[in-house]
Each structure stands twice: as structure tokens, then as C-alpha cells.
Amino acid sequence: MSLSPVEGAARAEIEPAADPVTPEEKSIVGRSPGQLAWARLRRDRTATVSGVVLVIVIVLALAAPLVSKLYGVGPDEQFSDRLDGNGMPLGYVGGITGDHWFGLEPRLGRDIFIRMIYGMRTSLFIAFAAALVTTAIGVVAGILAGFLGGIVDTVISWITDVALALPFLIFALAVVPTASLRFYGPREEVPPAFQVAVLIVIFAVFGWTSTARLVRGQVISLREREFVEAARASGAGLGHMLFRQLLPNLWAPILVAFSLAVPQYITGEAALSFLGIGILEPTADFGRMIFQSIPYLQTDPAYVFFPGVTIFILVLAFNLLGDALRDALDPKSSR
């Protein structure tokens, strides 16, 4: 080995010094990027508050029958004796009493609090299921389009364009009654499970495009990264590269997209109810409750107030959590 003397000397000096090893030799188990993000999220006060709010709401919704038992009022119980001749609740502020915390519905006289809990269960289920399905479809379509490129990308992007060009509300308006008619006669009762399923399918068909676009963009920027090439150079197949190498790097945008999709579907479901499609009576549904309450804005403001404020808080909490999640997962972004 003939070195030029200068090089040799320079190198010899450097040689003994090993790479600076990260301190804290004791904590051998490293903190994954996910754990770091979690730690950042827990330090974020807004995120903590929104998270707690959401957990309370979700637990209440899941435990609706239990809440009903403790509260002592069923969702379909009518308290007609507490309404006046016009069907408006007796007493002040929409009939709030110790038994009926949020008052009673006008006309039917059902308890608003327990209807809301049950309605939330329906709405949250629809929203979460729809978000789950759309995210799954969007991720698969986005990964395939982004990684394979070429004709696959062209086709998937084109389908995305078509889906975006279809007017969602009009289609939903047309599909829901038609679908019910297809499977059930005009006089048959449509079971709630079917109504819920139809809504989820509609949201899924129209909702996957934004996630697909997002994931596609991410994959395109990751695809050329050398760790993917390293896997390819080792003989990895497509499945390994997509799901072992790329997917772990996509969790951040997927999670953010998911957390922002849920409130969209909550309000979307409410909007569909507003147009007269969605979950039918007597099943309790949050979206329909809001839509039904609006005509009473002047005569019974409390009826509008409780569901309205609740959906506002719910959506706000989801939005705040989504933002906080984005910050925690991508500390570089300056939101």
C-alpha cells in the first residue's frame, strides 16, 4: 500500500477516533419516529384537550345502552305529558329538568340527551367506517399509481378525475332511494343496517380520491429514495418494496388524512340528512337530528343549540387533532 506520505499522516491521525457514539448508552432501545411523534403530540396542549374530548364522546357513544340505563331514559321513550298543546316542551329552555338534561324534542317529546348519544353512535360509526374504507382504497390506489407509474398511473389518475367530476350530492340523492328500491319493495321497511351500509358505500365511492392523490405524491417522492433501491438490489419483490419499505413511511400522511376525513363524513352525513336522505326514523341519527332541529331555531332554540354545539365541538376537535397530528408527525412544517 503506497500512500502519499501526507495522506497517510493525515489519515493516521484521524484513524483512532471512532465515530462519536450517541450518548445515553443505557437506553439501548431506540425511539422510533412514531414514538417521537407521540411524545410531541402529548406535549401539545390543544391536541391533548381535543383528544380527551374525542375519547369521551366516542366512549359515550359506544356505551350508549349503558348510558341509557344509568340515565334512566330510553332513546325511543316519549314524554308527551311534558309537552304543551302545540307540541312544544313545557318549562324553560326547551324543557330542561333534572331528568332531561338537554330538554325534550318538540312534537315527539323524546329526550334530547339520550337521542344524541344514540345518534352519535350511528354517525360516528358511519364516519369511521367510511373513513377507514376510503383510506384503504385511497392508499392502495395511490401506492400503485405512484410506484408503478406509466399506464397504471394514467388510468388511476383518470379514474380519480372522473370521480371528482361527478356531483356527489346529486348522485347520493339518486342512489340511496334507488338502491333501497332495488333490494326492498316500496312498502317494505328498509333495515337500518342497510341504510348505514349504503351511506358508507357512497362515501367510499366518492371519498377515496383525495387520499389516493396524497399518497401518490408521497410515493413518487419516496420511490427514488435509495432505501427502496437497496431492497430492489437485494432481490426484493414488488410486495416487499410497497408494503415493507414504502408503507411504513406513509403512515404519517395517511393518519392525518384519516383524522381529517372523519369529521368530513360526520358533516357529510348531516348534509345528506338535510337533503332528506340518510338514516330514517326511528333509528337515532345525529345528522338527521340537526336537520330536524333547524326549523325550530326561533321557537325552541335549545333544541337547535345542543346538537348544533355538539357537532361543532366534535368537528372542531377532529380538525384540531388532525392539525396537531400533522405537526407532530412532520415537525418541519410550520403550521
Binding site: 465515530d19 439501548i28 431506540g30 429514495r225 435509495e226 430492489r232 438490489a233 437485494s234 432481490g235
Partner: protein
């Protein structure tokens, strides 16, 4: 090139037999302007070279000369446009993934960017174990034991198995990349500028690690670099590339001490080395590297060469032995004598040689 069709015809690879044999290797990237393709970037345009077992070949040249493309073709991350790559006597130029699999184990790559080449969401253990996992290999003693051996081999603490790449420095990350490349016990490693993204002080450590590994494990290397000082430290043989072609190839000492190609001389003179800071000084090449979309006719270096003649524009110089030199040089008018003499504007050099500027 008639490739041996059966294994029985393949002679056992003896030390004299090249491990890697590259002939006429080319990669053209089509450039599309509209629906018709309007030519191609000839990134690599006909390379011939061999690498023997345990030998290190340095591939040097300016950025854009096709070194990296060549490296990627060797490990089949890119599909060659033309030419053949033979590895251990087998033609792998167009082998499919399944057929390539056993060869993958013998042929690995180390990447330039230690930040992009490690998956940020995987633990070090998982990164190093990836090649084993992908090829379904369970080494004796288990994957974890093997990974820890590898980490130790590259000078990392084997207890850092569960850490994530972001917890390591650039040099340490490059060591992880090296451990990953070693996982399958390869015979040849393509190292694509493995140290150019590192601090100078760290560069030396990584180079020394590679040199030790090369000696201890009898590895062959194709070492891609733009830094001639690093190549000199590491390589047995050196190939100098310019615009997709090899302009000079030979043993290290021949290339460094008696370079024949003007381009090699210019590159060597650019090494900041006190020993050569004599009166000769540095050759400054002027002008830009011509576009590989439309390379110059004849000798590709002629547009920047101070010795260029009419013949250089019409006749492409072959890569052969010139004037008693032991290396192969692609130049009609090779330089003579040891380096340091500087460019001698020969008697037949054009008087209006404005292409070279000698700073004193």
C-alpha cells in the same frame, strides 16, 4: 458474445478468471419531445472492463460522466441498452428476478447518500437483516446473531440493534449501509461514491473500514468516485471515465504516475496535494462538458483538449496500449512521462490553443 449455455461448460472461476466481465455496456435514456422520441442521452456508451476476484476497480470522472449509471447497471437496478455483463461466468444482462436471485447474494451495492439509503422507519436490525429476509435465508444461529456480527464487523455497537437511523451520524449510517451490503456475503460490491456525502474526517474512517473488509473478506469492489485521492487510497486498478466512455484504464500506479490521457492528467492535477504543487501547477480545463445528448464526433474530449488535432474530430481513438504504457488509453496523442511535468504544448499543437490555461 456466446455465453456458456450450461453449467458444465463454465470453467470454475480461478483467480485469473475475471469475476465480472463487462463488454460494450451502454445505457441510453430516450428523450421525448412530444410523441416522437427526439434522440437519447447517451449516459454510458460502450464500456469494456473486467474485475477479478478480490480486486478493487476505481471508476472516476466528473459528475455526469455515467459512473453512477454504470454502477446501477452492474447490480441491475437499471436495464442496459446494449452490451453484456457477465458475473462469475454467467451472462446476467437480461436475467429475470428469479434467475438473478442467487446472484444478488454475490453482488451488492453501497449507496452514496447515507441519509436516503436507510429506511427511516426501520430499526437498524431490520435494515441490516433485510437482504436475508428478502431472500428467505436463516443463517445458523438466527438472524439477530448474524446482524449483530455484521454490526460488529463494521465497527458499530451490536447492542444498537433496536435503534433507528435518525439516531446515528452520517458515518455510522454509512457503516449500517455497508453491513447491509455484507449481509449476504457478497463477492463483489459496487460502492457508489460511498464517502462523498461524508465529512472529510469521517471519509477516512469509512475508507479504511472498506479496505479492511476488502482484505479480510477477499471482496472485489467497483468503487465509484469523483475524488482521485480517495481512489488512490483504495483501488488496485483505476478506470477514468469521460462522457460515458472509459478514456484510460490501468493499474493504479500507472494511472497516477504515468497517465497518458490528457484528461487523466487534468484530473490528477486537480488533486490538492502538496507534493504536486510544483512549478507545473494545475491544468485548468475550460469550457463545459458537452451534452451527452449530442456528444462530439471522434474523441469526446477533443473540445476541451489542448492537444486536439483534425484527426481527433474524425476518428474515434480506441482504448488500447499506447507507446509502451502498461495501461489502456483512448487517445491519438497520449502524453508521455511522469505526472507533474505539466502539459507540454507540443510542436504540432495549434497555436491558438485557447482551451487550456496554465496557472503558474
Amino acid at each position: 458474445m456466446s455465453s456458456p449455455s450450461t453449467a458444465t461448460q463454465t470453467p470454475p472461476v480461478s483467480p485469473a478468471e475475471p469475476l465480472l466481465r463487462v463488454r460494450g455496456l451502454a445505457k441510453h435514456f430516450p428523450v421525448r419531445a412530444g410523441f416522437r422520441s427526439s434522440g437519447a442521452v447517451r449516459a454510458v456508451d460502450g464500456l469494456d472492463f473486467d474485475v477479478r476476484p478480490g480486486e478493487t476497480l476505481g471508476l472516476v470522472g466528473e459528475s455526469g460522466c455515467g459512473k453512477t449509471t454504470t454502477g446501477r447497471m452492474l447490480v441491475r437496478l437499471l436495464q442496459p441498452t446494449a452490451g453484456t455483463i457477465e458475473f462469475a461466468g454467467r451472462d446476467i444482462t437480461h436475467a429475470r428476478r428469479g434467475a438473478l436471485r442467487p446472484l444478488r447474494q454475490d453482488l451488492q451495492i453501497i449507496f452514496q447518500d447515507p441519509y436516503a439509503s436507510l429506511n427511516p422507519r426501520h430499526t437498524v436490525g431490520r435494515i441490516v437483516a433485510m437482504p436475508l429476509q428478502v431472500n428467505g435465508i436463516t443463517p445458523p444461529g438466527g438472524v439477530k446473531k448474524r446482524v449483530q456480527e455484521l454490526l460488529e464487523l463494521v465497527g458499530l455497537n451490536p447492542e444498537h440493534y433496536n435503534r433507528y437511523p435518525h439516531e446515528f451520524s452520517g458515518g455510522q449510517r454509512q457503516r449500517i449501509g455497508i453491513a447491509r451490503a455484507l449481509a449476504l456475503r457478497p463477492k463483489l460490491i459496487v460502492a457508489d461514491e460511498p464517502v462523498s456525502a461524508l465529512d472529510v474526517s469521517i471519509q477516512a474512517q469509512v475508507i479504511n473500514l472498506l479496505r479492511d473488509l476488502q482484505r479480510d473478506l477477499d471482496l472485489a469492489f467497483v468503487f465509484i468516485a469523483h475524488d482521485l485521492a480517495v481512489v488512490r487510497h483504495f483501488c488496485h486498478r483505476v478506470a477514468v471515465m469521460y462522457l460515458g466512455k472509459i478514456v484510460e484504464i490501468g493499474d493504479r500506479d500507472d494511472i497516477y504516475q504515468r497517465p497518458q490521457h490528457p484528461y487523466t492528467r487534468a484530473l490528477l492535477s486537480a488533486i490538492p496535494d502538496v507534493t504536486t504543487l510544483g512549478p507545473a501547477g494545475r491544468i485548468r480545463l475550460t469550457g463545459d462538458v458537452p451534452t451527452p445528448l449530442n456528444p462530439p464526433s471522434g474523441c469526446r474530449f477533443r473540445t476541451r483538449c489542448w492537444k486536439a488535432q483534425d484527426r481527433c474530430a474524425t476518428e474515434e481513438p480506441a482504448l488500447t496500449n499506447r507507446d509502451g504504457g502498461r495501461q489502456l488509453t483512448a487517445c491519438h496523442y497520449p502524453e508521455q512521462g511522469p505526472v507533474g511535468a505539466g502539459p507540454e504544448p507540443g510542436p504540432d499543437a495549434p497555436a491558438t490553443s485557447g482551451t487550456v490555461e496554465v496557472s503558474q
